[in-house]
């Protein structure tokens, strides 16, 4: 059974760093790489540290660091199956005590954050350590709207960033991830997304979160929200479909989350009116498609929402949960082409974003709202289980 845990472990960040760990550094600029390697050298002065990276490090030496070069991958965001495969295989070959993977822009992580991630795993306390980034309310919105609530409701994990681009894991977890990643690589899907949280939950491995503060998050190379949302949500839905036998079983809810630091103010001025207009346009044009996917109650909720003034616009948490669950079921049933399905989700997601930003503007903390959304997903889990098993019971 998954033992997703969030026991406070602030002491780990203060303890001296241990080594015997492999650090995988994703492709990045030479200057950023040099910064990271310098930080690692200062963090692990007494231990030999193995660094695996596809970057070119020739001509520079770092005391105490042994650098091996792995194959370069095409993707820059997020970490890919090929990255996981290379890191896990290198760790196995060199008998590393743990693996830490650092994504692009990791040089903006603090020393304490790196130390915390490394120590959680090298102390054998947990099998997977994920960072908890401090983001402003207008950032990481797909994660807040879909990835985190779904992972929490279905896999019982409170990991706030299931698709984090920095993480550390134990040899056991590395072995599991290597197996999954290698299958993707063998089938010529090197750029596929891996979901470590669900893998850990299914394998019964423990997960912890480390507060890492702010970080410069790399943005997708392709700025088109349509393409990116389709890629990420499609991958998550496929992962959920593959693990249906696991998450349908009832399981205990995870313990209450710790209070992590958050940034409260919205960066810049955000006008929600264009997003509300996009939703209204979709409501008047996509009803035929939505009616194939959504339950009548949800359609009624959307109809009411379509006449709300942008300043008072807010999508109810349970309505959003039902919408995402209905799309998940439609994904499974292939009610319509999957590309069309995820395309039809985009205006609804924008409506949620507009509502979320209005809630934050009204003075409610962003994290409070996201937790309320996740709680709505959790409390409605029975709905997704029922619809998954008996999809014809539609008009409930």
């Amino acid at each position: 059974m998954a033992t997703t845990n969030s026991v406070p472990n602030a002491h780990l960040a203060d303890a001296p760093a241990k080594a015997g760990m492999l650090v995988f550094v994703a492709p990045m600029a030479a200057e950023s790489l040099a910064n990271i390697l310098a930080t690692l050298t200062s963090l692990f002065p007494d231990e030999s540290l193995l660094v695996a990276t596809p970057n070119d490090t020739s001509g520079t030496t770092y005391p105490g660091l042994r650098v091996i070069t792995t194959q370069a991958t095409n993707a820059v965001w997020p970490l890919t199956a090929a990255d996981f495969a290379h890191a896990s295989n290198a760790a196995k070959e060199n008998g590393a005590r743990g693996v830490m993977m650092l994504g692009p822009g990791a040089d903006s992580l603090s020393t304490a954050a790196l130390r915390g991630l490394a120590n959680v795993v090298s102390d054998s306390t947990f099998d997977l350590a994920l960072p908890h980034y401090a983001l402003p309310p207008n950032a990481g919105l797909v994660n807040s709207a879909i990835l985190y609530p779904l992972n929490r409701a279905l896999f019982g994990s409170r990991a706030r960033f299931p698709l984090s681009i920095d993480l550390a894991f134990s040899p056991r977890m590395a072995e599991r991830l290597a197996g999954i990643a290698q299958r993707f690589v063998n089938s010529n899907q090197s750029d596929a997304i891996i979901w470590p949280v669900s893998e850990a939950a299914v394998a019964g491995l423990s997960v912890d979160e480390i507060e890492v503060g702010t970080r410069v998050l790399p943005q997708p190379a392709e700025p088109n929200i349509n393409a990116i949302l389709t890629l990420v949500t499609g991958s998550l839905f496929a992962d959920i479909e593959a693990k249906a036998a696991f998450w349908q079983r009832p399981r205990r809810l995870p313990p209450e989350p710790r209070n992590f630091g958050a940034i409260h103010g919205i960066e810049g001025e955000v006008d929600v009116a264009p997003m509300v207009e996009a939703f209204r346009l979709a409501f008047s044009n996509l009803q035929e498609i939505w009616s194939l996917v959504l339950a009548p109650n949800s359609l009624l909720g959307l109809k009411r929402l379509s006449v709300v003034d942008p300043s008072a616009f807010r999508m109810a948490e349970n309505l959003w949960a039902r919408i995402v669950f209905d799309f998940l079921v439609a994904w499974r049933l292939r009610t319509l082409n999957r590309g069309h399905l995820l395309g039809a989700l985009i205006p609804l997601y924008l409506a949620w974003v507009a509502g979320h930003l209005n809630v934050v503007k009204s003075g409610t903390s962003s994290e409070t709202h996201v937790e309320a959304v996740a709680a709505a997903f959790e409390s409605d889990k029975q709905y997704i289980v029922s619809r998954w098993r008996w999809p014809d019971r539609f008009n409930s």
Partner: protein, 273 residues
């Protein structure tokens, strides 16, 4: 020879000189009608007897191959489910997007392949038996095959029209085009008109009239769409052109400060990831 001709002429003259009987023998009329009916019934029955084995062959072949198809489909479905084929394929190709699972598609393809094979075998048997006993096979059978082809064309065209219409509708809505539905309908009817013209052409119905009507309709729809999109996007195009002109001017006279449009700034302040 002369005597024979003289006799013949005499007979004809006698026949012309005597008026025909006003009322002929009733029994003779009924006899002729009965003969005609008997011959007709005989011809139809002969035709049916000639065709019946063929029809029976069609039904037997179709039934037999449908049953084989059902069995094969069930075996494939269970086998692939047992081997977790879908999961393996999804791991290998996460971008699989058809509206059915790979297992269901393969099983369905196997079933319909068998049905089609049965139909072909049945029609071949029908062809052989029918050709021996009827005067119409040459015109009937090719038309049947054309009809089947036309039905397949119609189904494919309708499916493609629906798929393209949905793609355009969703894409246009996400691009926030106000005329998304109109655009989608236009694309749908373009494909449907093209399909209808192809079906009629395949059935050899209408001839030049169909080609002409298709050309007018297709051209009309394209023109309407072009006008609608052109007029609807007039502002967008003018803004784009103005932007180009501004940029080219900026290259010659660079401004002191770079300004970002308010809408662009607002858009950039949301980070989805």
């Amino acid at each position: 020879m002369e005597r024979f001709l003289a006799t013949m002429l005499q007979t004809v003259q006698d026949y012309n000189s005597q008026p025909p009987p006003l009322i002929s023998d009733n029994g003779s009329i009924w006899h002729h009608m009965s003969d005609a009916l008997h011959q007709s019934v005989y011809r139809v029955l002969s035709l049916l007897i000639a065709v019946l084995p063929g029809i029976l062959a069609v039904f037997v072949a179709l039934t037999l191959f449908t049953l084989i198809g059902m069995a094969l489909s069930t075996i494939l479905r269970k086998g692939f489910t047992f081997l977790k084929f879908d999961e393996r394929l999804n791991r290998g190709n996460s971008e699989w997007t058809p509206s059915s699972s790979p297992t269901a598609l393969i099983a369905r393809a196997a079933f319909w392949g068998c049905v089609l094979l049965g139909l072909i075998i049945g029609v071949s048997a029908f062809d052989v038996s029918y050709a021996t006993g009827a005067p119409l096979p040459v015109s009937m059978l090719p038309y049947l095959t054309h009809f089947v082809g036309a039905v397949l064309l119609l189904i494919a065209g309708t499916l493609i029209a629906r798929f393209l219409a949905r793609s355009v509708l969703i894409g246009a809505v996400n691009a926030q085009l106000q005329y998304a539905r109109f655009l989608s309908l236009g694309v749908k009817w373009l494909v449907l008109v093209l399909t209808a013209a192809m079906v009629l052409d395949h059935l050899q119905v209408g001839g030049n009239v169909v080609e002409l009507a298709f050309g007018i309709l297709f051209g009309g729809i394209v023109l309407t769409l072009s006008l609608a999109i052109g007029l609807g996007s007039r502002d967008l195009v003018s803004r784009s052109l103005e932007g180009r002109v501004d940029r080219s001017t900026d290259k010659t006279h660079p401004p002191q400060t770079e300004t970002v449009p308010a809408s662009e700034e607002r858009h950039e302040s949301i980070r989805h990831f």
